[in-house]
């Protein structure tokens, strides 16, 4: 495990871990996926600025090694559960960037059919059990996934990702205690990106060595260099092994940094440009690429090719998302309930339709003229141009890092976010 000291106070003392590289194919795939996440996030930010993406948009630029290193330590049948910063988690599990981008666009082909948005990605088939919008809200569910895996007598384990801000929620202690008490195969991974929204680690946590905070709950802690995909992979692998084989939940702290603001609506008044620049020197995509070239696993040309591939995939994702239809208005009430023999219907009241009506009749009620008109007007307002394909920066190292201008509709305050 890497020695990572006092990361909150700067990066000078952080030492790159010296892990052996994985097999060349794996190394290439890891780097390619990190590049894909980087390019995806950059483009998502651009689409937000063009108002193609609404709501909140939390980007994980800078956290690619944490995402890929930890997820590649998982088996296919393991469960991953994450937060509202989860585009990369869906992508790393194999969800097509097309479906992730379509979700950001709010379209029917989105991985949550346009119901969840940026904060609520989901892919059951790949056991990505969701992004959750409430800070700390996913930890209890992770315990339940571990309980289910244990109850069903499988070897499946759970990797639960959350941020340093979530470590101060009550669910942190509750979930760690319960997982340890019941010997559940859960790895709790705190992605310590140094800030709970705009509040820095030392201003929100009395004990800033977050991996130590599991000790009192019977959950041993480990720490990894979250800017180093190899170290993250090695530590998470060890943690998952303990969880799976010893039925011992583990708390892993990944020290990382988000290069962008908390969300697109973040003026970043809480940190200095110098700090951001210091961390950018350790850009996880760049440093891993450099190492692969140094060790002659890849050439500079290979790097360029991988990046071109990533950009092409993101171009395709944007094209796909923009062509995907909006959900039909009559689907507004779909999937509120599972209707069946037991529950044949329910009464619903909706301020846009006169009176009350049975839930199962909502598809008809949703087609009334006024609502259809309103729907069409909003669709029209979102039909702007997506811009030239491939217009993003051509070098992943040169992510501009300047804070993005939020569209006027964006909230300038964010509730229930960290």
């Amino acid at each position: 495990m890497a020695e990572v000291h006092a990361a909150a106070h700067g990066v000078a003392s952080v030492r790159m871990a010296e892990h052996d590289l994985p097999e060349p194919d794996a190394a290439r795939e890891w780097l390619g996926t990190m590049m894909l996440i980087r390019r995806f996030e950059e483009r998502a930010g651009e689409m937000y600025a063009k108002a193609k993406v609404g709501g909140f948009l939390h980007l994980a630029i800078g956290e690619e090694a944490t995402i890929v290193g930890s997820a590649r330590a998982m088996r296919d049948d393991d469960y991953l559960i994450s937060t509202y910063r989860s585009h990369g988690h869906a992508i790393v599990r194999g969800t097509s960037p097309n479906n992730v981008m379509a979700e950001l666009f709010g379209r029917v082909d989105g991985c949550s059919k346009g119901r969840g948005g940026s904060m609520h990605m989901f892919d059951l088939e790949r056991r990505f059990m969701g992004g959750y919008g409430i800070v700390g809200g996913n930890l209890p569910i992770a315990v339940g996934l571990g309980l289910g895996a244990d109850y069903q007598e499988t070897e499946d384990a759970v990797l639960c990702q959350f941020g340093d801000g979530a470590a101060n929620q009550g669910t942190f202690g509750e979930a760690l205690n319960l997982a340890a008490l019941w010997k559940l195969p859960v790895v709790f991974m705190v992605t310590n990106n140094q800030f709970g929204m705009g509040t820095s680690l030392e201003r929100h946590s009395a004990v800033t060595d977050l991996h130590k905070r599991g000790d009192g709950f019977g959950v041993p802690g480990m720490r990894c260099d979250g800017m180093d995909v190899l170290d993250t992979h090695a530590v998470t692998s060890e943690a998952l092994k303990k969880a799976r084989e010893d039925r011992q939940p583990v708390l892993v702290e990944a020290i990382t940094y988000r290069f962008r603001g908390h969300s697109m609506a973040d003026p970043e008044e809480y940190r200095t440009k110098e700090q951001v620049e210091e961390w950018r020197k350790r850009d996880p995509v760049l440093t891993f690429g450099e190492r692969l070239v140094e060790e002659e696993v890849l050439t500079e040309d290979d790097l360029e090719e991988l990046d071109k591939d990533a950009i092409a995939k993101v171009d395709e994702a944007v094209r796909f998302a923009d062509e995907s239809p909006h959900p039909e208005p009559e689907s507004l009430y779909d999937n509120v309930y599972v209707l069946g023999d037991q529950v044949r219907g329910w009464y619903s009241v909706d301020e846009r339709a006169a009176g009350v009506h049975r839930g199962e009749d909502e598809r008809d009620h949703s087609q009334d003229g006024a609502r259809r008109e309103q729907f069409e007007a909003v669709v029209e307002s979102q039909s702007g141009d997506i811009g030239d394909a491939g217009s993003g920066p051509s070098d992943s190292a040169k992510d501009s890092g300047k804070s993005d201008e939020a569209p006027e509709e964006a909230e300038d305050t964010e509730k229930a976010e960290a």
């Binding site: 949550s112 809200g137 669910t171 999937n335 309930y337 529950v343 009464y347 009350v356």
Partner: protein
């Protein structure tokens, strides 16, 4: 009184007399025997046999894997139930009382109620969260709540409020078999009440079917949870002392709501009084009164009446507590006031 109307299963056998808590216990036992994926967890439900003894004997019978004592961590217990339900289990979580469910509100609303919709229908949450409510035991402001209206508020949840042993059993079995998250609200006062329960393991009470507890042509009284029983007693008093024949309806589930049965009754009686134990503002009665006047305005001969708990934190003092939630006299008075023009 055994429930009537549709949706009561097709058992042809006889009945047996059970207490409400025993009926719930039977429902849990039968469903756990029927389906390996059903398990229960909660505070003190195992070794202690449950704060209200609903889970008595189940630990001994099913073992620690399926009867799980938990720490006092309401939000995480419910969240763990959500997670397990998402991957194919059918957890039944007991919260010791409805009061403590406030600590689990995030998981009940943001997770259990929303996950099916929020993730585009890819996954469902067949979770039951059981909890008793109610005043009358001098437990003061923090331990005497009635919160059915809080859970009624959230789309995605089903809400059951059984008032009889037969409904307690039949609805709990139906809740466990349903693919939706169910908030199952019992009542502390009712746990010791006896009633006839169909002697049939397949006896289910379907959600969305109200029970007509008493037939009558003069006024419709809708009673929620324990108030279904109080309303029935008040109806007997109205018949004896005022020659008013009240029809008493127990909706049994608030989501889905059997509005048709209530409206049919109101169209017959032209008067409606709604009785609940919880607070008046934003209550079940406020909601139901709006629905009735929207749907049956022309059939009403008087404004819809409401009898509710007092709009206060519940006081400890016994006499104060007793006058702070509805009893028969308030119901009688509310019914009479719908006749005051005659």
């Amino acid at each position: 009184m055994a429930s009537n109307g549709d949706g009561n299963g097709n058992g042809n056998g006889g009945t047996k007399t059970l207490r409400y808590r025993e009926a719930l216990n039977e429902a849990l036992r039968e469903e756990m025997n029927r389906d390996e994926s059903v398990f229960i967890m909660g505070e003190d439900i195992g070794v202690f046999n449950g704060a209200f003894k609903v889970t008595q004997g189940l630990l001994e019978e099913f073992g620690e894997k399926r009867v799980r004592d938990t720490p006092i961590s309401e939000n995480t217990i419910v969240g763990a139930g959500v997670g397990a339900a998402m991957i194919g289990l059918r957890p039944v979580v007991e919260l010791m009382t409805v009061n403590f469910s406030l600590l689990a509100m995030d998981q009940i609303v943001n997770s259990a109620a929303h996950i099916h919709y929020m993730f585009g229908g890819q996954v469902s949450v067949p979770l039951v969260v059981r909890m008793p409510q109610g005043a009358g035991h001098q437990l003061g402001p923090t331990h005497s709540h009635c919160f059915e209206s809080l859970y009624l508020h959230a789309p995605g949840l089903l809400v059951a409020v059984p008032a009889t042993p037969a409904d307690a059993k039949g609805l709990l079995k139906a809740a466990i078999r349903d693919d939706n998250p169910v908030v199952f609200i019992e009542h502390e006062y009712l746990y010791g009440q006896r009633g006839e329960v169909p002697d049939d393991e397949d006896h289910l009470v379907d959600f969305g079917h109200a029970a007509i507890r008493r037939e009558g042509d003069d006024v419709t009284i809708v009673g929620i949870s324990r108030m279904a029983l109080t309303a029935t007693k008040a109806a007997d008093q109205l018949a004896e002392e005022h020659e008013i024949e009240a029809e008493v309806i127990d909706p049994r589930t608030l989501r889905p709501l059997d509005l048709d049965t209530i409206l049919d009754s109101v169209r017959k009686t032209n008067r409606c009084v709604i009785v609940e134990e919880g607070w008046p503002h934003g209550g079940v009665g406020a909601n139901l009164a709006a629905l009735v006047q929207e749907q049956a305005f022309d059939d009403l001969d008087a404004p819809v009446g409401r009898v509710t708990g007092a709009d206060i934190p519940m006081p400890y003092s016994k006499p104060l507590e007793q006058i702070a939630f509805p009893h028969e006299p308030q119901i009688v008075q509310a019914v009479l006031s719908t006749f005051r023009d005659l």
